[in-house]
Subunit: 217 residues, 2 copies
């Protein structure tokens, strides 16, 4: 096969992905370059283009792997919780823990839009849906959540978690930043779910409290 016969095409592919991930984790996304990846695996830059169409493809592959790892992490996080509400907290905690542990790779998923005519984010849609599903299952198991609202509730909760991560992760190289993120997450989930469990019959109650007003349709 290869000139040195040392590595097959898929081996080089794998080495390149791992080298690139190491660069990103260590020095951030801006430090990534084709030449750096190539020399890290002992090849020249041209060989990278023999394996990947371009850098965007390599980045997309890394993002795919990251999403897979995230999914595995969330499955793991779900392993020691029973009640659906506990599971939802676990999903939030697992997501923020992952984002805090891999801030650069986590940011890359959302911030790198390929400039090709490739359908930008659509590529991850399947992997994203798989993540959504984890939340959807828990919400369906939650009597407090009316069936027809599960779809939007899933998106609302994930969006909330995404926002918490976006506002806290990777800004400072702090240790406390994850704790703050976790606190925000639990607060948001807690109150949202409480509201979800009451809003079906509390519009009158709230008005009697004198302040709450229905959300404009």
């Amino acid at each position: 096969m290869g000139r040195r016969g040392e590595h097959s095409k898929s081996e080089i592919e794998c080495m390149a992905l791992e080298a690139a991930e190491a660069i990103i984790e260590g020095e951030g996304f801006d430090a990534l370059s084709a030449r750096k990846v190539a020399s890290a695996i002992g090849y020249t830059v041209g060989s990278l283009y023999f394996v990947f169409r371009n850098l965007d493809e390599l980045i997309q592959r890394i993002n795919g792997r990251t999403l897979d790892q995230l999914y595995a992490g969330l499955i793991e996080a779900l392993s020691d919780c029973r009640h659906p509400q506990q599971c939802i907290y676990a999903l939030g905690g697992g997501y923020l823990a992952f984002a805090a542990r891999h801030p650069h790779r986590w940011r890359m998923i959302f911030e790198q839009q390929p400039r090709d005519d490739n359908l930008s984010i659509e590529i991850y849609q399947e992997k994203m849906d798989r993540l959504y599903e984890l939340m959807e299952i828990q919400l369906k198991a939650l009597a407090a959540c009316p069936e027809e609202e599960v779809f939007i509730a899933t998106r609302a909760l994930w969006s909330g978690l995404q926002g918490v991560a976006s506002m806290t992760i990777g800004r400072k190289p702090d240790r406390e930043e994850e704790q703050w993120a976790q606190k925000l997450s639990r607060h948001l989930i807690g109150h949202y779910l409480a509201g979800l469990g009451t809003t079906q019959f509390n519009s009158r109650v709230n008005q009697s409290v004198g302040r709450l007003i229905d959300c404009p349709k």
Copy 2:
């Protein structure tokens, strides 16, 4: 003054900012380059570096202006609402409307971390705090929100909105994407506030419902 005596230093600065903003709005952030900005205002690239230290500084200036415009937009959005809860919906609506109308510039605020030793996001802290304050005022006016939780509730709500925007805006060049964002926003705010109004005395109630579990401290 200037060679052609036509523009003062601050005039060139202003022209450059506007030209750069036009490029970003029209072609996206990746299309921005020093040479393109320079030629758009009828100067050469060197002159840009006479006014800005580097491109990062120009980007930071644009981000500052964007945050100012966003603040003005939110003040405007607050003008026709009375009850604090209405105002919170208005803040969400205003934020998403702005993000949908200026997706590239909105994304730039959060996605462009300068690689200088400049304290990345800290520069916007003041302008950010001003935005937070708008929410804080409404939450304080909301009897449903206990005083000591206003701080975290403010961050939770803004994070939620940020997440909604992040998950919806700029992905597709669609018209409906803002409507979906608005729907998600209203849903999230509505249920969160409902929960905020009840969670102070409902932990027992929820347990009696048989599903809800207190948020782990």
